[in-house]
Symmetry: C2
Subunit: 300 residues, 2 copies
């Protein structure tokens, strides 16, 4: 247990890789870029039962885990099975896992939280009765208290569309062209990180990221005073100055800006002027042109 625990902590001291795999796995099953879906309830029956397998596979890939002897993985020389549940504590264990170590994972798009812990499967902490069709038995409350948590209630990157008001989602998805939907997204959702997967889901086309970059042009949102910042040198510096969340690789953030009277700590310079965030009801003219600068991550 200790060896496996320390192995994972050494590989991923902050849980960033774990959290990213869980986010990516949920996105993969939703398959938004092809289907425009962002709700678990919109999945087909076959897809719903499939999230756990995807998590298992993606964790194995991310940490380059070898196959276990009897269990899914071999970690630091020990057999470890992987189990995922959408509800915390909802893990179901197959009889073959009795006495083995399991990596228990949980990620909840509603709560935007995730967790991962280790547990040695103990029959005293499994529910009685026949179990379900596959002869799996659910862990009982007393078992949860014995979990050695690697990360608990860690923040999960947000499933943005799931957390927007329904009327906003409807307005975004109703626009006719991909560019119009992307414009509506960055118009309605400002000061908030928008991930690549959200852009692809809304754009419904392979060059979604290009649509996000184009949204800043004067004929799109620039004419309404809105800038769209990505993971570029200039963009990141401006996001920092304006106190906006700073886009990582494959992320964007938008904001309405207005001319500033003079240089200040929360202003930036562009097109020969100083600019600041616009107040909610303030009238604004066109946004300044965002200059091309060095891409800090993969080029899209």
């Amino acid at each position: 247990m200790e060896a496996v625990f320390e192995w994972f902590l050494r590989q991923d001291p902050d849980g960033d890789r774990f959290g990213a795999v869980l986010r990516e796995s949920l996105d993969q099953v939703l398959d938004g870029p092809r289907t425009m879906r962002f709700r678990y309830s919109d999945l087909r029956k076959t897809e719903k039962t499939h999230v756990g397998t995807i998590v298992e596979i993606n964790l194995g890939k991310e940490f380059d885990l070898a196959d276990g002897d009897k269990m899914d993985y071999s970690v630091a020389g020990h057999d470890v099975d992987c189990k995922y549940s959408m509800s915390r504590g909802g893990w179901e264990l197959p009889l073959e896992s009795l006495g083995h170590l399991v990596l228990l994972t949980w990620a909840d798009d509603g709560a935007s939280r995730w967790a991962a812990g280790l547990w040695r499967v103990d029959p005293r902490h499994l529910g009685r009765g026949a179990g379900n069709r596959d002869k799996k038995r659910k862990m009982v409350k007393a078992g949860q208290e014995r979990i050695t948590w690697l990360w608990r209630d860690a923040p999960l990157d947000e499933n943005l569309l799931l957390h927007l008001p329904e009327d906003q989602v409807a307005r975004i998805l109703a626009a006719r062209s991909g560019q119009q939907r992307i414009n509506e997204l960055f118009r309605l959702v400002q000061h908030r990180i928008i991930r690549r997967d959200v852009v692809l889901t809304v754009a419904q086309q392979k060059d979604g990221p290009r649509r996000a970059r184009m949204a800043r042009e004067t004929k799109h949102l620039g004419g309404e005073g809105i800038i769209v910042l990505g993971h570029y040198e200039w963009d990141v510096a401006v996001a920092n100055r304006l106190g906006l969340p700073v886009p990582r690789n494959g992320e964007w953030v938008s904001a309405r800006v207005a001319p500033a009277d003079s240089e200040g700590p929360q202003s930036f310079s562009a097109d020969g002027h100083w600019w600041r965030l616009a107040a909610p009801d303030e009238w604004v003219a066109s946004a300044p042109k965002v200059p091309r600068s060095k891409a800090l991550g993969d080029v899209e």
Copy 2:
């Protein structure tokens, strides 16, 4: 049975959509663009057991099938379960499917063949004994004779790297940069369709298709007399004239060419000259420049 059979035939008279889903599902599990894998044997244990689920999900999406009442799908008002096997006749049926219709699918990357048929699960044609852990039972030979085939031994788009001689694969994958690997691919594998997934697997970068387009430049393969044709108006016309396999959307084909003495049925005109396929040992100079022409499918 008849209603379901006719529904599928009406949706997909040539089996093109079915065959594409099976190809895509195998590619999806191999995940070559991220992992450079192209052999089933290189998959992790968790991934190997996962192909059937992926086929189920992708067929459901492609044909927009609603959830069944007790089975995976509802097709033309009838409950239908979906089963995939890597080996023909290797289908395993769960006890719950007794008496129900199943869509049996098979795709074999080694043989480059696939099949799909319908069967009503009949306990007399299931193997005896306890079945495997999940209480599934294998169909026996006599059952196979009762399958109503939608498509049988249909050609599956080739898993190219799997069918190349090992030394060629090693040479292609050994090159240091993505562009060099793509060059080696189109240099060693001529007159043969190269699919987008193969290009992405070899390139190991998102802009793999751009690398394929660039391979034709003089500093890459153009200087060796090799042209690389894609799904563009001019390219497709030239592939037709040269008698090469014609690239569909997301496909390429390469060939070494030499100047022709005069116009002929198997020649094309470019850079003010006529060109033909080069003979295997013929010395050639630079290939002509492939002009830009209209993309016939999605632009990469």
